[in-house]
């Protein structure tokens, strides 16, 4: 059995098909019953007519006399314009009537063809004593079936009408039955598909008993998914902790030692060590972030975000780092910069862009952060006075692990702009890298639909 396709459609087809078959059977039964009734009524009339004729046959002085009563044939004429035939025979000799009328040996009623038309015949007989011996007198009365056919036609039309009404009513009931059978399925499907990506609560929608095993299995599956997700989250957090803690120890110890030693070669070695720690910890952090971004962009959790507040928070947090190099932030932000987005992703992207600007800016420079509303878009521009992007690989910088060749000693993973770009794309925005138009430096422009 093909289990694909719509249950609703299949149920409908089955119910409507059954209704059609039932309607056809009803029609045929009705029609054959009506035909039988009509034939029986014709037979009764013919029988009565034939019997009346037979009654009128008498033997007078050895002669057979048949005085056919008018009523005997008139009762047949009443019905319709059907033609009537009769035959009276004595033994095998036809006394009067239509000689070529089909004959039967027994008293019976039957249908035959006569002069090109179907006719119904009834034969009755009785024995009369003629000249001392018993002789059989038979009367056959026949009638064409035009009236019957006409009556049957009428009955058929009625039967068709009844069949159609039955079919229509059955179809309406079928639609109702199919709908109400499928409704619980639709309710559960809607309850499950309307859920947010992070909603891993069990399905509690009431369901019919046949569907209970399915929802139970679904709930067991959801519970397993929830467990395994939180396990892997815990695992990642634990792994990060395990890696970062010793790295932190090594870094701090190297820094302490660097303060104590004077020998230049030892100092260079220690600095290289610190650099290696920074590179690996930064790479680990960015890889985790990138995995998180890849996961979340598949299932965006959108809410209204005030970009101005987010920018303000990020800049505030970056200020102590910028201060170390006497870098100054100049912020110009418009108030009505609300976008619909995933707060964690947007924060991550903006942090990456501003963090980049701080990292690559020389000391005692200015980073300009401008947030404005341009029509249906919110546009963020972060411009620094650093070395800027190289013109020939500007488009490649959003590729994974791509870094400019002019980065010098600055520690980086090559994932920052990749993350920002993926986040912006997932929000139907654009990320543009250009040279700062005011003097040298890089300019990152990010636009998101407002």
């Amino acid at each position: 059995m093909n289990i694909q396709g719509s249950i609703y459609r299949r149920l409908m087809l089955q119910l409507v098909g059954s209704a059609a078959i039932l309607a056809a059977i009803l029609f045929l039964l009705f029609q054959s019953f009506a035909r039988q009734l009509a034939v029986e009524s014709q037979d009764t009339t013919l029988q009565a007519s034939a019997s009346a004729i037979l009654e009128s046959v008498s033997v007078q002085q050895g002669q057979v006399v048949a005085d056919i009563p008018y009523a005997a044939l008139a009762m047949l004429g009443n019905v319709s314009d059907d033609r009537v035939f009769y035959q009276i025979s004595l033994g095998t000799e036809v006394l009067t009537g239509y000689e070529d009328l089909p004959r039967s040996l027994d008293d019976t009623s039957w249908t035959a063809k006569y002069r090109g038309d179907p006719i119904r015949l009834v034969k009755v007989s009785r024995s009369l004593p003629i000249n001392g011996s018993l002789t059989t007198i038979a009367v056959t009365v026949a009638q064409t079936q035009d009236g019957l056919a006409q009556k049957l036609g009428e009955i058929s039309r009625t039967a068709i009408l009844i069949g159609l009404i039955f079919f229509a009513v059955a179809t309406i009931l079928a639609v109702w039955a199919a709908r109400s059978s499928v409704r619980p399925l639709n309710i559960v499907a809607a309850a499950v598909s309307r859920r947010g990506p992070a909603d891993l609560r069990p399905v509690t929608t009431p369901v019919p008993s046949e569907m209970a095993p399915l929802t139970q299995a679904l709930n067991a599956f959801i519970a397993r998914l929830d467990r395994s997700l939180s396990q892997s989250e815990d695992f990642i957090a634990e792994a990060a902790h395990r890696v970062r803690t010793p790295l932190a120890t090594v870094r701090a110890q190297a820094e302490v030692t660097l303060r104590r030693v004077d020998k230049e070669e030892n100092r260079v070695a220690l600095k290289q060590m610190i650099r290696a720690v920074d590179e690996s910890s930064r790479a680990a952090g960015q890889l985790l972030d990138h995995a998180m971004v890849a996961f979340r962009t598949d299932h965006l959790e959108r809410s209204k975000l005030d970009l101005r507040a987010i920018i303000k928070e990020i800049v505030e947090r970056q200020t102590p780092i910028a201060d170390l190099k006497d870098i100054e932030f100049v912020q110009t932000t418009a108030p009505d910069c609300i976008v619909l987005g995933d707060t964690i992703l947007i924060q991550n992207a903006l942090t990456n862009i501003i963090d980049n600007a701080v990292k690559y800016s020389p000391h005692e420079t200015v980073i300009t952060v401008t947030l404005e509303r341009k029509g249906a878009e919110v546009v963020l521009t972060v411009a620094d006075q650093g070395p800027g992007f190289e013109a020939d690989n500007i488009d490649a910088l959003t590729d994974r692990f791509a870094r400019g060749t002019n980065v010098g000693q600055t520690v980086g993973s090559g994932l920052g702009l990749t993350i920002a770009n993926e986040v912006v794309k997932a929000h139907n925005g654009t990320l543009t890298l250009t040279q700062n138009t005011k003097g040298s430096g890089a300019c990152v422009t990010l636009s998101l639909p407002a």
Partner: protein
Amino acid sequence: MRLLLVEDNERLAQALVEMLSLDGHGVDHAVVISEAREFASTVSYDLILLDIMLPDGDGRDFLQELRQSARDVPVIVLTARSEVSDRVSVLDLGADDYLVKPFEFTELEARCRAILRRRGGAATNIKRIGNVEFDLLGGVLKTESTRVELRNRELRLFEVFAANQDVILSKSKLVDRIFAGDEDVSENAIEVYVGRLRKHLRGSTVEIITVRGLGYRMTSA
């Protein structure tokens, strides 16, 4: 400054304590939350550095406890977890800032300074050297006739000199203290900042002396 460091990793804690002490801060070190609770209830700290994963519980619980007991001591959370949700949750719980391990010591210092400045620094952070008054948090240098606001690097350089009076400091060590690790700078860059400080100190009894071939030394009369 009086600091409390709550960190269960002995070697990391040792290194941090040493660094902070070198800069002239008083540091107490607690390994577990119960110990930290004791320290915090007896000593009034300027700042608490708090690790999250501790042997006897979650550092965040201790943070919550501090905030509920209305002790307004600034807290910087040191965490090995980098997830955004974690960072947000510690700020929501009332932490002033957080640092993801491993961190640069200068960043830790910078964040401490930023918080204390934001919170409005205590008067104890004003130091007198010779006839110069130095407001560590405000970054203000006052002589009898002048008042200068130091830029961040000048401030940190002056701080290093002030903590090591009459000690010869080599250019390379000074570079380590005021430039980020990944900045590509020559030792001569330090001359620019020493030059600026000398200009600010003109007319005072504090002097930065060049010791040929060795570095600089700050003296005061």
